[in-house]
Symmetry: C2
Subunit: 307 residues, 2 copies
């Protein structure tokens, strides 16, 4: 590992500790930890909490992988050659209460190439998926990320907000996965067609650190105020159907998931992102003018929650 890969890896491990401890305190149940080696190089530490009173299924994962990409795969990334190293943290929390939104976040550092030809970048983001729309939750979540972006010299909040809306989109449903957040990639390299920017890598690292360190500020207040809300059977049923859309996005479109599955990644760590239980009903539609219909309208036309 290069020194920066090492530093990023350590940051992700510390962040995993901090986040999993905070979520475990709210839930009351502890995360189960698995450490694993990747035969082709690297490994990871997965923390999973299932069937907790607050978190129905959640994972906070760190992995660090290195080696050679396949030729076809390498061509999809900037940088010459097939050698790479990647380290990152990703999390998904699916609360049990239908009023509490699902959240996902991911922060990663990649290096590709050799010697002088090495390119390196940071990527990541965070997005919120409510089952019942609360404008104040969406505003709070977006405000935290806007603040993080505004205090960095290397990113623009409107660009990262837009990227998130575009990325977490389910074309066959013609709707967004959720109410968005931020998304960034290739931060540190000159790759305008990919959204990358040739910024100082240490400033990119500082931004990723600030964003990762802000995750709990963005999500915990929302979880705290929704986790014990009274809910109906109909709301629970709606939540399980919305989870179906989450599965559709992750298995059909999500680059991280399909990448992992097709490159012999650790299946359990990749698919811990899938919610459970989940339902699919033919012709399942919200009643007109219901709060469920209101959510779908917002997902069909992403809003600017903060200005």
């Amino acid at each position: 590992m290069t020194p920066r890969t090492e530093r990023a890896h350590q940051f992700f491990l510390d962040l995993q500790d901090k986040i999993s401890e905070a979520i475990a305190t709210i839930d009351g149940q502890r995360f189960h930890t698995d450490t694993w080696d990747r035969p082709a190089g690297g490994g990871g530490r997965s923390r999973v909490l299932q069937d907790g009173p607050v978190i129905e299924k959640g994972g906070v994962m760190v992995s660090s992988v290195m080696g050679e990409m396949s030729e076809a795969f390498a061509q999809q990334f900037p940088g010459r050659g097939r050698r790479f190293a990647a380290t990152g943290m990703s999390l998904i929390l699916h609360p049990r209460n239908p009023h509490a939104p699902t959240v996902h976040a991911n922060f990663r550092y990649l290096e590709k190439g050799e010697g002088e030809d090495t390119v390196a970048w940071f990527g990541g983001g965070a997005d919120l998926t409510p089952h019942v729309l609360y404008a104040d939750d969406a505003v709070h979540f977006h405000q935290v990320w806007k603040n993080v972006c505004d205090r960095s010299q290397v990113v623009s909040h409107p660009a990262l907000k837009k990227w998130c809306d575009e990325y977490f989109y389910i074309p066959h449903r013609k709707e967004a996965r959720g109410v968005g957040g931020i998304f960034f990639d290739y931060l540190g390299i000159d790759a305008p067609d990919l959204g990358g920017r040739a910024v100082d890598l240490e400033l990119a690292f500082a931004f990723a650190k600030d964003a990762g360190g802000s995750f709990l500020d963005a999500y915990v207040p929302i979880l705290e105020r929704r986790k014990d809300a009274a809910f109906t059977e109909a709301e629970r049923d709606w939540q399980l159907h919305r989870r179906g859309r989450y599965v559709e996005f992750n298995l059909v479109y999500d680059r991280g998931t399909t990448f992992g599955l097709k490159t012999d990644g650790r299946v359990e760590s990749i698919l811990v992102s899938l919610p459970s239980p989940v339902k699919w009903t033919y012709g399942h539609e919200p009643s007109p003018n219901s709060k469920e219909a209101e959510l779908v309208e917002v997902l069909q036309r992403p809003r600017n929650w903060v200005s």
Copy 2:
């Protein structure tokens, strides 16, 4: 529509009637019928049965679509040009009882090209996905398909059985979706690299008719003897987790599903294939030497059930 497309379409509509009526009689609940038009040409008739006492979710769908494929898409198929017409019937039945296996079947006729350059072929198959392994169910299912293949002059049962095992395989799980059945494609054109054979199209049609007409013989005796079996909560839970594998296959690998989703197909008709409810649990493994473990072993090493 060409006369043969018309005849195939009519055959699929009649088959849909016959199969949905037989299944509705067993279930006691009727199928709901939706007919729909495809804006770019064609349409379909979807029959869906949900929350029945025997069938928890099932669909028997006929569609007939025509027009022009995208250039990129057209290149994946034999035949010049982008014009095509396709008609087919597909069905998936997810019984409620964990002892009763899920079944899928599909039969289709395609034409591509124009005038002298038109190529045409039949494709399809049927496969069984048990949650609890019963060797006699697998033997019966395979025996029906072997008999169908053996009385045709245009296919070989071992080839179609092998193709099915290879197609319904989940690489990231390193296991088959189920215990297989038969799969064939490009029957009627000289495309050895795709598994196609230049057989007489009327003989190919006769085979597809015989196979479609044999579906009830293949499945109904199995459904009848398992639908009322006593089951435990643990068996139900295992079934919901196995359904997760079914979702993974359909959304990540199935060509029909990903084709439909990415070409603006009718989403509800495509995703009626997904079971419900479904569970995913991190690190979910059968106990050693259990009957669940026995099923997984068979899925990892497909067997020849008939000789």
